[in-house]
Symmetry: C2
Subunit: 223 residues, 2 copies
DNA sequence: GCGTTTCGATACGCCCCGTAGCGTAACTCA
DNA sequence: TGAGTTACGCTACGGGGCGTATCGAAACGC
């Protein structure tokens, strides 16, 4: 719709787009969300402030677009087991949240979005829904390996699979975000392993942080 | 230390404290984090703006104190099973996050805290550590019921128990926050039940959202 | 070329932040 | 009771950001 809407007149400068988003990210790194100002971003990008407002309604929308691309770096290499796949995506997501531009911006735009429907929709489209394929793909692989039961057939089964993927996504992403930003403790490989064990085997098996306790009761297969 | 420091002079008005924090919460409800201003809070509280700055260094620190008391309402009634306990605390926490003053403020102060060590410490002390007892208590009850294995003895066992409690806290709180604020979908009893099932039995058993699919393969005990 | 749209530049009104200065109020201690 | 100390209300202020308006120039399609 954006294509057919404006076929006439001077086209938007793609170079300006890139320069603005780059400037936004570097401003986030140096100043954080609170210190970032539209005037400063325009200055860094070598662009007039009006050019920013021609593209985005406000600071939040612009920052969402600037940060969203960072999440596209997330990948899901097939490591041969559900355990390894989960552990690796947890660590990759945590590394992403360590980056100052992501860390300071993500929570801020989510906070703004609690009172801004358009912004909430933009976050969902640009970040949340976009990364959900990681869970879908990981689930599919695990089912192919026999590590997870197959989805029930029919439309109800597909809906149930969707709900399961949504749940897993919220649990994994939420746990990492909460650990990293709210509890403010670092996500170590040991922690990632413990989280993975909890997800795979459930609470009763989550005694030790890595591997079941010696002589423990419920230590299932792990390798 | 705050007591012995200032024993002389006019004491701080406790009434002003309450009026300010009440005004802060009501301003959050009506205006949200972004719309809340120090001048407006002072006006609502019937207090001079300088009185606010005499107590808190900035907006974020004040809001943390204003919101922290909301979390003290969380309780953990003994419902007789780990499943019921988890489900109830999930729903209670979600209901808390539904309240506009909590919803808009929590993410905002966490975002600010990514670049403010003092604020991060205040959040941990006033909110995170304060609510962790819910997990510790729930775990203790479940162990007494035999639903969870007991902690290994000795200081290593206690440390492992602490790590387990931290992990569970991050997983539960993180999942609810992510579902409610990032994914922006409501936390229903059905979802709470599915999350609880995932926590209790692990991913392989998380086929259906509530109850195993008819003729499903891995439906463990539930009642 | 003509209409349309973008761009840079500048200026502006509005509002908020956080602090300073002052006289007054409340409390402790001698 | 009076002196010392701290909190309070009030007002005013400098600094800075937001988002908009306006203008002439530039870059496109037709």
């Amino acid at each position: 719709m954006a294509d057919s809407a404006r076929r006439t007149g001077r086209p938007r400068s793609a170079a300006a787009d890139r320069a603005i988003l780059d400037a936004t990210r570097s401003a986030l790194v140096e100043l954080g969300w609170g210190g970032l100002t539209m005037g400063d971003v325009a200055l860094r990008a070598g662009v007039a402030k009006t050019t920013l407002y021609r593209r985005w309604a406000n600071k939040s929308e612009m920052v969402v677009d600037a940060v969203a691309v960072l999440f596209d770096e997330l990948e899901l290499p097939d490591l041969g087991s559900l355990r390894a796949d989960v552990e690796s995506v947890v660590l990759a997501f945590a590394a992403l949240l360590e980056r100052p531009e992501a860390k300071t911006a993500l929570m801020a735009v989510v906070a703004e979005a609690t009172r801004d429907d358009a912004l909430r929709a933009r976050i969902r489209a640009a970040i949340v829904e976009r990364q959900k394929h990681l869970v879908v793909e990981g689930r599919r692989r695990a089912q192919a390996r026999g590590e997870l039961p197959p989805d029930p057939p029919g439309p109800e089964g597909a809906a149930a699979a969707d709900r399961a993927a949504d749940l897993i996504f919220d649990v994994i992403a939420g746990a990492v975000v909460h650990r990293s930003l709210v509890s403010a403790e670092s996500v170590t490989p040991v922690w990632a392993r413990a989280l993975t064990a909890l997800l795979l085997h459930g609470l009763p098996s989550a005694a030790g942080p890595a591997g079941p306790a010696p002589g423990g009761s419920g230590g299932p297969v792990d390798a």
